[in-house]
């Protein structure tokens, strides 16, 4: 979850903080100090986070584009200049643009706004923005809420009285922010008795399902239990809420984290890291086998909530263990069915994968076929109707060889015409068949004439609406003639 630090560089930030003591401290200094703490924390514990630094006054400027290089961020922070007044709306708009350009609209972002709580004055001040918020045209809306999922933290460098006077937004202390947003998510991944301590990056966010009844935010539990394995082809690019790296971590006996080995700088290997690298870890084993076999592991994230673990290869030679979260619920993927109904293949009476791995129990076939998977009749466009009539005529000209197909198409048309109350069509097709009968060449099989006039007569009867002949379930059957010897069975 990338972070944008939005730093107020208006002149009001240079106001001194009233502290007993000799040295004058500006609000700006406090802010820089707080952010330094944040950057230091992230550099050690949340290293994979992309962070960018934006400063604003009446204008805004992207000081550091999204990076994992915290030295650059720190350097930029130390060289801030002071500008004019606070103009929050434009700055938020700027953040919105920057994030969308880099990450699109589906990637959740965190925005840390550092300001002194001054709302600004005149045009572009927050007060002005909020007053006019209702009278905006479509493309000049107030930038909040952002079009991407986001969390906005406001670090307000002000004392309590000032906050009350301006009735400002939340006040968030730096360390609290670190706890909330940037503490690593530690979990235990287990597969039966095989376990590994892992860090899940980025932190999985609580998810609220858009249900009308009792929407409750769901959080990923710290016990990630593998329930079984599925082939990649069977799980088949499922939709996921988010993706996370699963990094094995070494935990020493006191329960303190030694380090992930990976997130720490790899160049300076500490002895503990080397130790951690050399002792076998289940994550590495799992990753290797998932990669080789082309499979994913189904993992339980909470009650009725599942995800999958798989090997994700970078464009280079690097690859990694990843976890994707499915939509919470008992049936996140229609083609897998209810997850609770998935059991070990060895319990099945017959191996569902076949003895030579040639079969698969997935995907689950839905009870009903969709319209495009069955032969539906749609005559909304004239061409649909014409095609169906042509099919009958084509087969009519090849009687008696095509007797079966002829009657199949004829009955399909008859059924649809009856359902749509389109009796006129039945009459018309009957006439067409009668004419075909007169046009038969001398060489034609004598059975053809019999079948054509029989079919025409049946259609005419149906078009009368007489319940005896117009029953939907009724089918026109081939006429039994001396030539057909039992309904077109003697195909030449």
């Amino acid at each position: 979850m990338p972070t944008v630090v939005l730093m107020d560089s208006s002149l009001s930030m240079t106001r001194p903080v009233s502290v007993e003591g000799s040295e004058e401290i500006q609000r700006k200094n406090l802010a820089v100090h707080g952010l330094t703490m944040l950057f230091e924390h992230m550099a050690t514990n949340y290293r994979l986070e992309f962070t960018s630094l934006v400063t604003f006054s009446s204008l805004w400027e992207l000081m550091v584009p999204f990076t994992r290089d915290y030295n650059t961020l720190q350097e930029a922070l130390n060289n801030l200049e002071d500008y004019d007044k606070t103009c929050l709306e434009a700055a938020l708009q700027g953040v919105s643009n920057i994030v969308q350009q880099e990450w699109g609209t589906s990637c959740p972002c965190q925005v840390v706004l550092v300001t002194d709580g001054a709302l600004g004055i005149g045009r572009g001040s927050l007060r002005h923005s909020l007053q006019t918020v209702k009278q905006r045209v479509e493309d000049k809306k107030f930038p909040l809420p952002f079009p991407f999922p986001s969390k906005l933290y406001v670090m307000c460098i002000a004392n309590a009285e000032e906050l009350q006077a301006t009735d400002s937004m939340d006040n968030c202390v730096g360390s609290k922010l670190i706890d909330q947003a940037y503490s690593p998510f530690h979990a235990v991944m287990r597969c039966g008795n095989l376990t590994s301590d892992v860090q899940v990056f980025p932190r999985p966010e609580p998810v609220t399902i858009d249900e009308e009844v009792d929407p409750m935010p769901r959080t990923v539990q710290t016990d990630l239990e593998i329930v079984g394995f599925i082939e990649i082809g069977d799980i088949s690019s499922p939709p996921v809420l988010s993706r996370h790296l699963v990094l094995p971590i070494a935990v020493n006996k006191e329960g303190d984290e030694i380090g992930t080995g990976a997130t720490d700088d790899t160049e300076e290997e500490t002895p503990t890291n080397q130790m951690a690298g050399k002792s076998p870890n289940f994550c590495v084993l799992l990753h290797g086998s998932l990669k080789v076999e082309g499979m994913v592991a189904l993992v339980q994230l909470g009650p009725d909530w599942f995800g999958m673990l798989y090997s994700q290869a970078d464009s280079k030679k690097k690859s990694n263990l990843m976890m994707s979260l499915f939509e919470p619920g008992s049936e996140p993927l229609p083609w897998l069915g209810r997850i609770s109904q998935l059991g070990p293949a060895s319990d099945a009476a017959e191996n569902p994968y076949g003895e030579d791995d040639s079969k698969s129990p997935f995907p689950i076939q839905p009870k009903n076929k969709r319209s495009y998977a069955q032969n539906v009749t749609v005559w909304i466009k004239a061409s649909g109707l014409q095609t169906d009539v042509q099919k009958i005529l084509r087969n009519a000209r090849k009687l008696p060889e095509k007797t079966q197909t002829f009657y199949k198409e004829l009955n399909r048309l008859r059924k649809a015409a009856l359902a749509f109350g389109f009796w006129e069509l039945l009459k018309s097709v009957a006439e067409l068949l009668e004419r075909e009968c007169t046009l038969l060449p001398d060489s034609a099989h004598p059975d053809a004439a019999f079948q054509l006039s029989h079919a025409a007569q049946q259609l005419k009867l149906a078009s009368s609406g007489d319940s005896k002949y117009a029953a939907y379930e009724h089918n026109i059957t081939p006429m039994l003639t001396d030539f057909s010897g039992g309904g077109g069975a003697d195909r030449i």
Binding site: P239, V240, A262, K317, Q341, P344, G421
Partner: protein
């Protein structure tokens, strides 16, 4: 989409009044004469659909789309009869019938009544929630296709619906099976024949009361009506349209040429979320088609295609329904997908860069539009797993774990199948994983038994929940087989990683192997009595004489030796041999070894000649473990081994080759020269 929204229930009411039998006056030529046969034949008059036929056709189409996209939880009721069978029984309206007795009013009343009935899903939610049951909402929509006389007539219909709702809600308040309607949308579609002027004016959605809102559409019959309903179904069910362009298709006439076609699909609008949010909707090739009422996003068919074993980062998957289901391009595309292939779709961008944003793929006969992530990933350039914990270890049992994963693949079970302990299949899967991992070393150098083909039958069986007698027998056979291997002193695949030299000795290897096997079986011994029997079998087969056990307790250091002697222990027991101290025993043993060695050597001349004439050491011949009748000391074994190894490194002395009992006669040629024909060396004479 939120459950229990207005779209949860839709009632379609099609007017069956005599006027609907009127022709739509849209003519369809169904007599398409082919050129060769057209001479002298007068084409038949074109047919035209009645208003009723048009209305039914379009209602069916509306339902088709909804069922395609929402197979569950979206209920559409068509006049109380939604099956084609029933429709056929109703037939077209009779123009001579009394208009009063089949007024659309009856249909509307029936529609309201059906909205009041709680659906299965609502009922389920209500019963599961109990005390908060009132939170299950009851909303619905009535779409009425009719031919109204005037705006006043329309108002009359609206009033009728409103009154019925109020009445029904009163009734529903006192019923368990009925639910009062909280919100109802009435969509009145007035249909009139082509070429006529409409008598009813269009009207935007208007709140008639807190419960009922109504809108009026006035449409000409035929394709205009079809188009109208296609437009209506989209907001009703949160749908959006995507047109796939540039689909390469073989021409029907000329099979070797191909042309590009477009196919329009409907699906949940969330598939366009990225475009909507970023305001790219118009830029992303959105165009208006057919009478300017529709909006569609254009995505380009993209080659190369993707394969099924690739796992795409997909943020959503939505069912689709083709707008023109039977057209050749549509059916070509859907058949292509139903055959199991996937197509990547490219988003046309003004910058000209290629961005793949969607994928079409079918799963179990249903086609889904997958939304692919097309923006920069926040997880780019992650540290490789080999850089992290356990990353430096190189001998993971990757293949074995792969095998383990295959054995623990999941498969769907029918709802009814519950095992004796009432566990769901997924719980059974978890417990199987637990059983299978009770003893599972992660690296090759940590295990012996899992590197041995001979152990496989037992290892596969012992993890099972229940064993048959036959299974136990197989396990026992495995154990006997191992005993046999040990007797033959077959080499074991013991890892030498980490230990200097050649690793542990053969007997130590077997000890390690037996211990490991015991650990594996002990982990499962609690599962059943038959599992216990397998353990018993192992304990028996590897059992040692009581004094051996005693000694073992005294000093582990001597174990190597003891294990060795143990094999030949019976011999010793017979002699009633007892040892006062370890040292004494050691000495005696060595003596005995020497003794037995001598015996064997004495036997040697009588033993049959080796088949191959390859130089062999006498000691080697004497040493096959099966043959050795007495105990062999460790030292002897070691020495033999070393000599054996050394002997391969140099050419054997000619003297030793022709020696008897390691004694070679020197200066034989002298004897020959002297004419003496006495040879002690048998070999030389042969």
């Amino acid at each position: 989409m939120r459950m229990f929204s207005v779209s949860h229930k839709t009632a379609l009411v099609v007017d069956h009044c005599p006027y609907m039998a009127e022709s739509s006056r849209q003519l369809i030529e169904c007599d398409m004469l082919t050129k060769s046969r057209s001479q002298g034949v007068i084409p038949l008059a074109p047919v035209s659909k009645s208003l009723w036929t048009c209305a039914i056709e379009c209602s069916m189409e509306y339902c088709r789309i909804v069922y395609d996209v929402y197979p569950t939880n979206k209920l559409v009721k068509l006049n109380e009869w939604f099956l084609m069978t029933a429709l056929a029984a109703v037939g077209p309206p009779n123009p001579r019938q009394d208009p009063e007795c089949c007024s659309v009013l009856h249909g509307l009343v029936a529609a309201v009544e059906s909205l009041c009935k709680s659906t299965e899903y609502q009922h389920e939610s209500r019963t599961t929630l109990m005390d908060t049951a009132e939170r299950v909402a009851n909303r619905g929509r009535i779409i009425c296709l009719t031919n109204a006389k005037s705006d006043t007539h329309v108002r009359m219909l609206e009033d009728c619906v409103l009154e019925t709702i109020q009445e029904q809600n009163k009734r529903a308040a006192g019923s368990d099976r009925l639910m009062p309607i909280q919100q109802c949308e009435l969509v009145l579609v007035h249909i009139y024949p082509q070429g006529e002027e409409t008598l009813v004016s269009d009207r935007q959605k208007k709140e008639l009361s807190s419960v009922l809102s109504s809108e009026v559409h006035s449409v000409r019959a035929g394709r205009y009506l079809a188009c109208k309903l296609n437009v209506l179904v989209q907001p009703h069910f949160d749908l959006a349209s995507t047109t796939i362009t540039n689909i390469p298709m073989k021409e029907e006439q000329h099979a070797n040429t191909s042309a590009n076609y477009d196919v329009e699909l409907l699906h949940h609008r969330d598939a366009h979320m990225e475009f909507i949010k970023s305001g790219d909707l118009h830029m992303a090739g959105s165009t208006s088609r057919d009478s300017g009422l529709k909006e569609t996003v254009t995505l380009k068919w993209c080659t190369p295609r993707t394969n099924s074993v690739e796992l795409h980062y997909c943020t959503g998957a939505y069912r689709i329904s083709p707008v023109d289901v039977n057209s050749r391009p549509s059916s070509c595309l859907t058949n292509f997908l139903l055959n199991g292939r996937s197509v990547l779709l490219e988003q046309p961008r003004k910058s000209g860069s290629k961005v793949i944003s969607h994928m079409l793929s079918s799963h179990g006969g249903e086609i889904f539009l997958h939304v692919l992530n097309s923006t920069r990933s926040t997880l780019e350039d992650p540290p490789s797993i080999s850089e992290g914990c356990g990353g430096r270890v190189t001998d993971y049992r990757i293949t074995d774990f792969g095998e383990f994963m295959r054995e623990n693949r999941l498969t769907p079970f029918p709802e009814s199948m519950v095992d004796a302990a009432c566990r769901t299949p997924v719980e059974r899967a978890k417990s199987q994983l637990e059983r299978h991992t009770r003893y599972w070393p992660m690296i090759i150098s940590q295990t012996t038994i899992f590197n041995m083909q001979a152990v496989v039958p037992l290892a596969n069986l012992i993890v099972k929940d229940t064993l048959t007698d036959e299974d136990v027998l197989t396990c026992q056979k495995t154990v006997y087989n191992l005993v046999d291997m040990e007797r033959k002193s077959d080499p074991l695949p013991i890892s030498t990683v980490g230990s200097r030299g050649k690793g542990p000795k053969r007997d130590e290897q077997y000890r390690i192997m037996w211990n490991e096997l015991e650990t594996l079986v002990k982990a499962h011994v609690g599962t059943s009595e038959r599992h216990q029997r397998v353990l018993d079998c192992i304990s028996t087969c590897r059992s040692k004489p009581p004094e051996e056990e005693e000694r073992k307790k005294r000093g582990r250091k001597r174990e190597d030796k003891e294990d060795k002697t143990e094999k030949n222990g019976k011999d010793r027991e017979e002699k009633g041999w007892t040892a006062d101290s370890e040292r004494l025993k050691g000495v005696m043993e060595r003596e005995k070894d020497e003794q037995s060695e001598c015996e064997i050597i004495k036997d040697s001349p009588d033993s049959p000649e080796p088949l191959n004439k390859k130089p062999r050491l006498a000691t080697e011949e004497q040493q096959p473990p099966e043959k050795s009748k007495g105990p062999v000391s460790l030292l002897t074994l070691w020495t033999n081994r070393i000599t054996q190894a050394n002997s391969r490194k140099h050419q054997e002395f000619a003297g030793r080759l022709s020696s008897v009992n390691n004694k070679a006669e020197l200066y034989q040629h002298l004897k020959e020269e002297n004419g003496m024909d006495v040879h002690e060396n048998g070999k030389a004479t042969r």
